[in-house]
């Protein structure tokens, strides 16, 4: 009877995703799919003003609407001590305002009704009187002495929030004094929004009989949310259960706690019934946390021969009405000081000042590790800026300045210790793949004909996997992560992890880790996450940290199991454990490969025939505290054609060579890169949330916030090199965000390259057709 045994499918293989069948059959369970008996619906009244005093809220007309059960205002929350909540950066944010609103579309009151249509009618019926105050839109003006104060509650007479710096100022000044050449550029990385296709929402259900609060919630970090809810509300933590069901994309936007979640909880406590809140797309774009919004001035110091020696960066960070960034506590500007990138510099100094304005709070990631996109954009743009100044080929200048692979681990001038890298190899592969030399020839021919074509390079270094607990915490909770593995008697397994998938495929890749480490078929391994009542504590999924932290925890827990299994195998084989070796996914007696035991056999014995004196069962838990961060990298080359008549930029080709260390599932890694590249292109060419002088959001719907479609997106070409992380248990580094971080400067560099002969040296994103067209016509006017 020949039954083919199921395959292990460990590292480097591409089993199909375990999560797919439920999604493909329409049987996923997203938050809005949850329907509980007696469930009520909540909708939110929002401010039309960016900055205004609330003089009166009349809820009576709403309460007269049939089907409206309650209207909650800031005064109700204030009475319960819940009008304010902490942000992840230890700032404070209004849940519902009592005195004034500080951004357009801010939550002002909430209507609880029997269905979502009635709730919407109730919102229309609430009457709010405002006394408009001057908006504070420009962060530079916000710092001027006569600027209106956004947050008088802070007790300071300025909108300045904090100042932060990294690197050695004196050493950097010295290098700059000594260098042959200094180039400087102002770069603005505009405010954008992650805009996952599923918006945010929750179902809060308070069971008064058992005193237990259950919240189904669109969150990337359920455990941290439970702890924060417990601390804020006073409800004991074991009486709160946060469930993060299927999540329709996160990208950083589902890390924060939004007022809507808190109000829904209060509404459930107040009514004793489950309350559902699902935001609209316009609410999502107008009120949820933004990303980026960094105004950067950067300088590079170099010698005439092209050696880059030092870097200075000054940044103004527009945080809106609260610093609601999702950064580790000790890093208010995230990991922005990674901005020396892949290059061996003598010194660097980085400063960031944060400021309040009357815009929605933030800033969260946009599919990137904490502020790394801003950092990579700065260095990769500046290297090209220097190349133009020195009349050097940008690839050539990069080769000259790369940190050589033999210098790893490498200590950067801002204090990071890069784990491993081979930047030259990645760029070699990328240039070969795109046919760099031929493209340069084509470009020269086209220029002669007046056609605009450019080639852009980005050789970025990411920093992910936060992080070592001695430096990384969020609100004091250390940024370890966890895994719990239980092997069943017949050799199948359940794995529970502290991180939370939003599409990354954890149910598959984490099963592959266990499959590889324990020699069990991937099909026999179930992965669970997202339910705080069952999953081990973890900090959640963002900043490409799942594989570096919880992935490592899974491998370490599996290895604990393997160690115990070795003793059981020795017992079964009647030999000394030291005589056994783990080979071909089983334990065999050294030199006698026929005498062996598979994990399946060992698992059965763990419950039926375990050695005397040993605990029965086969399970392990690990809370993994990474010794360092991981540093994925890549080399991207982009080719663009520009229509001079319209300013439209078309990406003709884009080659992305990524190195994320050991690859668990090549299919999933490729998919992550495709998606990341698209979210790198989007803000480069299309997406931005601008505000007018009154603080009105000018891109508050998908009609103006321009997510690229299949027709704007090129056919990405991907490839990889493998430089394992030396400190990660199986050498993996994380990948989901590298392409979002690495792609924008490649695209900008290509556009600037296409226009450089016209004298263009820089362009800020998004590179909209009108902006590019203006650069071309201005250049023509200058030459004429």
């Amino acid at each position: 009877m020949a039954i083919e045994s199921p395959k292990i499918m460990g590292y480097g293989t591409s089993p199909k995703r375990k999560e797919d069948p439920r999604f493909l059959h329409g049987k996923g369970t997203y938050v809005d799919d949850i329907k509980l008996p007696g469930m009520l619906h909540m909708d939110i009244v929002r401010s039309p003003y960016a900055h205004a005093k609330i003089t009166n809220i009349n809820i009576e007309p709403a309460l007269e609407t049939p089907g409206v059960l309650a209207v909650i205002t800031g005064k109700d929350l204030d009475a319960a001590g819940l009008a304010w909540m902490p942000t992840l950066m230890s700032d404070t944010q209004m849940v519902l305002p009592v005195e004034k609103v500080v951004y357009q579309s801010q939550e002002v009151a909430a209507v609880i009704a029997t269905d979502r249509y009635t709730a919407a009618d109730g919102v229309m019926a609430v009457e709010v009187d405002y006394e408009p105050l001057p908006a504070v839109v420009d962060p530079f003006k916000a710092l001027e002495k006569d600027s209106p104060l956004v947050r008088p509650d802070k007790g300071k007479d300025t909108n300045h929030i904090w100042h932060w710096e990294a690197g050695d100022k004196d050493a950097t000044d010295k290098v700059f004094a000594d260098a042959d050449i200094v180039v400087e550029e102002d770069l603005y990385i505009p405010r954008i929004h992650v805009a996952s296709i599923e918006t945010c929402g929750c179902v809060a259900s308070y069971d008064a009989v058992n005193g237990k609060l259950t919240i189904w919630m669109t969150t990337q970090a359920p455990h941290a949310i439970r702890t924060v809810f417990s601390l804020v509300s006073g409800i004991p933590e074991h009486k709160i259960r946060v469930i993060s069901p299927d999540i329709g994309g996160g990208f950083g936007g589902k890390v924060p706690v939004y007022p809507g979640y808190v109000i829904a909880v209060v509404a459930s406590l107040k009514t004793g019934r489950p309350v559902k809140w699902i935001e609209d797309r316009s609410e999502n774009l107008q009120a949820d946390s933004f990303a980026r919004d960094y105004h950067i001035t950067a300088q590079l110091a170099a010698d005439k021969d092209g050696r880059i020696r030092g870097m200075k960066v000054k940044t103004l960070a527009d945080h809106g009405a609260a610093d609601a960034a999702a950064n580790p506590s000790k890093f208010p500007a995230g990991l922005f000081s990674i901005c020396t990138g892949s290059y061996d510099l003598e010194a660097a100094h980085v400063e960031v000042d944060a400021v309040y304005t009357t815009k929605p709070p933030g800033g969260v990631a946009y599919r990137c590790s904490f502020r790394v996109t801003e950092a990579v954009h700065t260095i990769e743009r500046m290297v090209d800026r220097l190349a133009v100044e020195l009349d050097r080929d940008p690839a050539d200048l990069r080769y000259q300045n790369f940190i050589p692979k033999e210098n790893f681990p490498y200590k950067s001038p801002t204090g990071w210790e890069y784990d491993s890298g081979d930047y030259k190899q990645a760029l070699d592969v990328a240039l070969e793949r795109i046919g760099y030399e031929d493209l340069r020839k084509e470009q020269a021919e086209k220029r002669a004909r007046g056609e605009l074509m450019g080639i852009g390079i980005s050789t970025f270094t990411e920093i992910v996997g936060a992080g070592p607990s001695n430096t990384f915490d969020i609100l004091g909770i250390k940024m370890f992560d966890s895994a719990e593995i239980r092997i069943h008697p017949t050799g199948s397994a359940i794995v529970r992890i502290g991180v939370q998938t939003q599409g990354q495929g954890h149910e598959t890749t984490f099963a592959q880790i266990v499959a590889e480490e324990l020699g069990l078929p991937v099909d026999n391994i179930t992965v669970e996450h997202g339910d705080t009542d069952t999953a081990p504590y973890g900090l959640g999924t963002y900043a490409s940290r799942s594989t570096p932290t919880a992935g490592a925890a899974t491998a370490v827990a599996a290895r604990k199991i393997r160690e115990k299994a070795k003793h059981i195998a020795a017992h079964l084989l009647e030999c000394n454990p030291d005589d056994l070796e783990w080979k071909d996914y089983k334990f065999s007696v050294k030199g006698v490969p026929d005498r062996s035991k598979t994990m399946q056999e060992i698992a059965f014995a763990a419950y039926t025939n375990h050695p005397q004196g040993m605990e029965a069962g086969l399970e392990a838990v690990n809370y993994y505290d990474p010794p360092n961060l991981t540093f994925p990298f890549g080399a991207y080359v982009c080719v663009v054609d520009i229509d001079p008549g319209t300013g439209v930029v078309k990406i003709r080709r884009f080659v992305a060579i990524d190195d994320c260390g050991t690859v668990i599932n090549p299919m999933i890694v490729e998919g992550q890169i495709h998606g990341g590249l698209t979210m790198g292109m989007a803000p480069s060419l299309f997406e931005e949330i601008p505000y007018d002088e009154n603080g009105n959001n000018m891109a508050g719907t998908f009609m103006d916030y321009l997510l690229p479609t299949s027709l704007e997106t090129p056919n990405w070409e991907t490839g990889n090199t493998v430089t394992p992380s030396p400190h990660h248990p199986f050498g993996a580094k994380g990948v989901g965000e590298s392409p979002t971080v690495g792609a924008p400067p490649a695209i900008v560099n290509a556009v600037v390259d296409a226009l450089s002969h016209l004298g263009v040296k820089h362009v800020d994103i998004p590179m909209t057709p009108w902006k590019i067209h203006k650069l071309i016509t201005d250049a023509q006017a200058t030459t004429a």
Partner: protein
């Protein structure tokens, strides 16, 4: 503003109810019929997460009132498979990793299937054009295009085999 009776066929089954005329079709599908595979992602008819087929034609069900679909025949993602056996379009998305978070996927498949009914062997540009009303934030579309090409090939297999026999 009284409720009005509505009845429609979804995936071969009849669903009826008295609804407010303003009820959007997507809410009828999700909340009255209980078929939650069809999603909602925007309020400006931009994203296509709510795409279903109305008499075989893909449309955005957030921009139609349920009353307008009275008497019509609808198909949603729940109507694709035969039991647990996947339709080639579902298989295509699975094999080619054409989905990540899965939120846009049902709408994307309903559009793709209508394309293949009209054009069994589409070019890449024809595929990209057909799905240009469906936004995906995770995949970058490359694998979605591959998934649809896979389904096209698979659905044409019987026809190609028959043509082969005729030679």
């Amino acid at each position: 503003m009284s409720k009005v009776p509505v009845s429609m066929t979804i995936n071969g089954e009849t669903y009826s109810g008295d609804v407010e005329p303003r009820m959007l079709l997507v809410h009828f599908i999700r909340e009255v019929a209980g078929l939650t595979g069809t999603h909602i992602g925007c309020d400006t008819t931009s994203c296509g997460a709510c795409t279903i087929q109305l008499d075989g034609m893909p449309i955005k069900s957030c921009t139609m009132f349920a009353v307008q679909a009275n008497g019509h025949s609808l198909k949603t993602v729940e109507g694709l498979a035969t039991g647990a056996e996947m339709h080639p379009i579902q298989e295509g998305f699975m094999v080619n990793h054409g989905l990540q978070c899965g939120y846009c996927t049902p709408g994307m498949m309903m559009t793709s299937l209508a394309l293949l009914a009209e054009n069994p062997n589409p070019s890449e540009l024809e595929i990209r054009t057909a799905i240009s009303g469906n936004l995906c934030r995770c995949t970058g579309y490359v694998n979605i295009v591959r998934s649809i090409q896979y389904a096209a090939d698979k659905m044409r297999e019987p026809e190609l085999a028959a043509a082969g026999q005729g030679d």
